[in-house]
């Protein structure tokens, strides 16, 4: 039996059950949300279309080019931009509109466009290369059929994400097997995650790879930096970086983790430790290095298009490092003495309310009372998790290095989002930040739930876990109900 086969056999049955839950939920979301109503789905579809039809990556076309006659006509027939951003406008709801869609689908319009993929153009290609498989395998040439098949692959990525979340909890809290499914299921029913898993967006592969990185790190802390564990860390980070550059935010945490782990095992086995470090570094940097080279030599794109580096400020705006630092701080934390950068309080408005649920192209959400209830529940769960950490403080002291790594992963991701947010503000006065950008931290979200459950002990913990899972189910179903009401009622 292969190594992968042995590894898969070691995955507990209940972990597969949790992954199946996420798959079913993601597929349900993929059927509920109308086509192109997941953020930037038109752009991500265009990228896949470019990869599948022309075998090249998209490039910026000025002025903004057409996506392709096939896609543009369907977007128009779906009245997409009359629905996106207008919460009172439902999806097409008459047979007459369906006839227009059918007529366009029968025209066999070309899927070759200008080569522009709008906001997705600058992204690395891995997710799109994978999505080119269902795109090509879909027998009909119809845009909507291909999109649905691609959504299926995204749902599968969501399921694998939950599997890795489960495996992360297994490494993090090895003595509390009854807490693992709670954390994994709370993620599987997280409505924002379900909504994204049901759409075509490279965030889906980012979530999978982020969960993989955190699982590999937890595994390294529990089992040591063996060459295999080093390779696992490096592979997830490396592949993650060519899925979406947001994962750059995890690099400081991974570097710290590898340093801490290497220091631990250096004295015992220098050779194995060095190999572990080499695998981690090589596999982390290899894919992104190849991507940069191909960008330069083959695809004729800038080194990291739209990723890092200089951007031109809009007229009347200048980049200021002090303002950027203040912007990043205020994006996540209370303002203190600084000059206001936001008209609202992003921690509450953008992150908390967004994670509880703000769907579509950020154009519909829950009734206001839901966020108040969620805050009370969230605070209670966090309090239980903190109480559990306090109760286990002796063990925690021995794992401070590991805790610091997870904290640095949060900080790194927030800084990365903050930098992008500031760039967007200065270059085009745009609002970049959306709650879904925090979903690479799903493992830590699950860990909070699992720690809270652990506080209940072996006697009450499982019941507390069941309560959290029921709340998550209710939350998810409610989110689907407002989605049905938004688009179909």
């Amino acid at each position: 039996m292969s190594a992968i086969g042995r590894l898969l056999r070691r995955v507990p049955r209940v972990a597969w059950l949790c992954a199946l839950v996420a798959l079913a939920n993601g597929l349900a979301w993929s059927l509920i949300v109308p086509p192109f109503e997941v953020p930037d789905e038109n752009a991500h579809y265009a990228y896949v279309q470019q990869v599948a039809e022309r075998g090249t990556l998209p490039r910026q076309v000025a002025p903004e080019g057409s996506l392709s006659p096939a896609e543009d006509q369907i977007l128009s027939a779906l009245l997409t931009f009359g629905v996106v951003g207008h919460r009172d406008n439902p999806a097409p709801d008459t047979q007459v509109q369906q006839q227009v869609i059918d007529r366009i689908a029968k025209q066999n319009l070309t899927a070759l466009g200008s080569g522009d993929a709008l906001t997705a153009t600058a992204n690395p290609p891995l997710y799109y290369a994978l999505q080119a498989i269902p795109f090509k395998l879909t027998p009909s040439g119809k845009v909507l059929d291909k999109l649905q098949a691609m959504r299926g692959l995204s749902a599968l990525m969501g399921a694998l994400t939950v599997l890795l979340v489960f495996m992360f909890l297994r490494e993090l809290l090895p003595g509390s097997s009854w807490a693992w499914p709670t954390g994994a299921l709370v993620v599987a029913f997280q409505p924002m995650f379900g909504f994204m898993s049901g759409g075509v967006n490279n965030d889906d592969l980012l979530y999978l790879m982020s969960a993989g990185v955190l699982w590999a790190l937890a595994r390294g802390f529990r089992r040591g930096l063996t060459p295999a564990n080093g390779a696992l860390i490096g592979a997830f980070l490396g592949v993650g970086l060519i899925s979406k550059l947001t994962l750059l935010g995890f690099i400081p945490a991974v570097a710290l983790a590898v340093a801490v782990l290497a220091r631990r095992t250096w004295a015992e086995d220098r050779r194995a430790t060095a190999r572990g470090v080499a695998w981690a570094a090589g596999l982390s940097l290899g894919p992104i290095a190849i991507y940069l080279l191909l960008n330069h030599l083959v695809w004729n794109r800038t080194a990291i298009p739209g990723g890092v580096g200089a951007a031109t400020a809009a007229p009347g705006r200048v980049f200021s490092t002090a303002e950027e630092l203040s912007h990043i701080w205020q994006l996540f934390l209370p303002r203190l003495w600084m000059r206001p950068q936001f008209s609202s309080y992003p921690l509450w408005e953008t992150w908390f309310k967004g994670l509880v649920g703000r769907f579509g192209w950020v154009d519909y959400d829950f009734p206001a009372w839901v966020y108040q209830v969620a805050r009370a529940i969230g605070l209670l769960v966090c309090a239980l998790a903190v109480a559990e950490l306090w109760r286990a403080r002796k063990a925690l002291r021995r794992r401070l290095g590991e805790l610091a790594v997870y904290a640095l992963a949060i900080v790194g991701l927030c800084v990365e989002i903050g930098v992008e947010s500031y760039r967007s503000l200065v270059t085009n006065q745009g609002v970049f930040e959306q709650a879904r950008y925090l979903l690479p931290l799903l493992c830590l979200y699950a860990a909070i739930a699992a720690l809270a459950v652990r506080f209940g002990g072996r006697r009450w913990g499982p019941a507390l876990g069941a309560l959290l899972v029921v709340l998550a189910i209710g939350h998810d179903l409610f989110a689907q109900a407002i989605t049905i009401s938004r688009y179909y009622a």
Partner: protein, 217 residues
């Protein structure tokens, strides 16, 4: 079967969700038949007293029993308004709202329109003695309406309501039909049932996972 805390929590919790779902499904409200997908950017269209506003190119959904408009009479009680709906074959429906309404969303009941009609024209006449402002989009480069016989670049936002008040439960067949539109041919005829079954499966598997782990050390 032994009654454990996990089983009790799961049973009570899932029952509570089911009860909440039934309560929501039974709530009776006016329900939408469709909209004209026009953004309401404020009171941008003025209709003088005694004049008529006509909006061509409307897709009039079947089962329309009323028009919902955003209107204001500038702080005064709203005047009487009449609405006429016509399609290429001739008049389709008409109705009116009495005076005294307040600014905001107003509903003009009309005779039920059975079938969806394309290229319909909706006209609203101000039967009062002072101006009424309507919510919509103006100027709007893609559309022209006529106000007092003169063309105006813009569009009135119209929501078409079904007759009376209905529960979600009564609307389920319509929702299932709408669910089948504008989707991939691979899924559209069974998407609603599949979404329901997938969620039942998800809840069932989650319950099983929690019960399994209850027994673990």
């Amino acid at each position: 079967m032994r009654l454990t805390p996990v089983r009790v929590v799961l049973a009570v919790g899932l029952l509570a969700i089911a009860v909440a779902a039934v309560v929501v499904l039974l709530q009776q409200e006016p329900r939408r038949a469709g909209t004209n997908l026009t953004a309401d950017r404020g009171y941008v269209l003025a209709l003088p007293p005694g004049q008529q506003l006509c909006e061509p190119g409307e897709l009039l959904p079947g089962d329309t029993g009323a028009l919902r408009l955003d209107a204001s009479a500038g702080g005064l009680p709203g005047p009487r308004l009449s609405a006429t709906l016509s399609a290429p074959g001739g008049p389709v429906s008409a109705g009116q709202i009495g005076g005294g309404w307040h600014a905001g969303l107003i509903v003009i009941p009309v005779r039920r329109v059975a079938q969806t009609r394309s290229a319909a024209t909706v006209c609203v006449r101000n039967l009062g003695s002072h101006q009424v402002l309507f919510g919509g989009s103006a100027p709007d480069s893609s559309f022209f309406i006529s106000i007092a016989g003169r063309p105006v670049s813009g569009r009135l936002r119209i929501e078409y309501l079904r007759p009376g008040r209905e529960s979600w439960l009564a609307l389920v067949p319509n929702l299932a039909h709408r669910f089948s539109l504008a989707k991939s041919d691979l899924v559209r005829h069974w998407a609603a049932a599949a979404a329901l079954l997938l969620m039942l499966l998800a809840v069932g598997l989650a319950t099983r996972a929690m019960l399994n782990e209850e027994r673990s050390p």
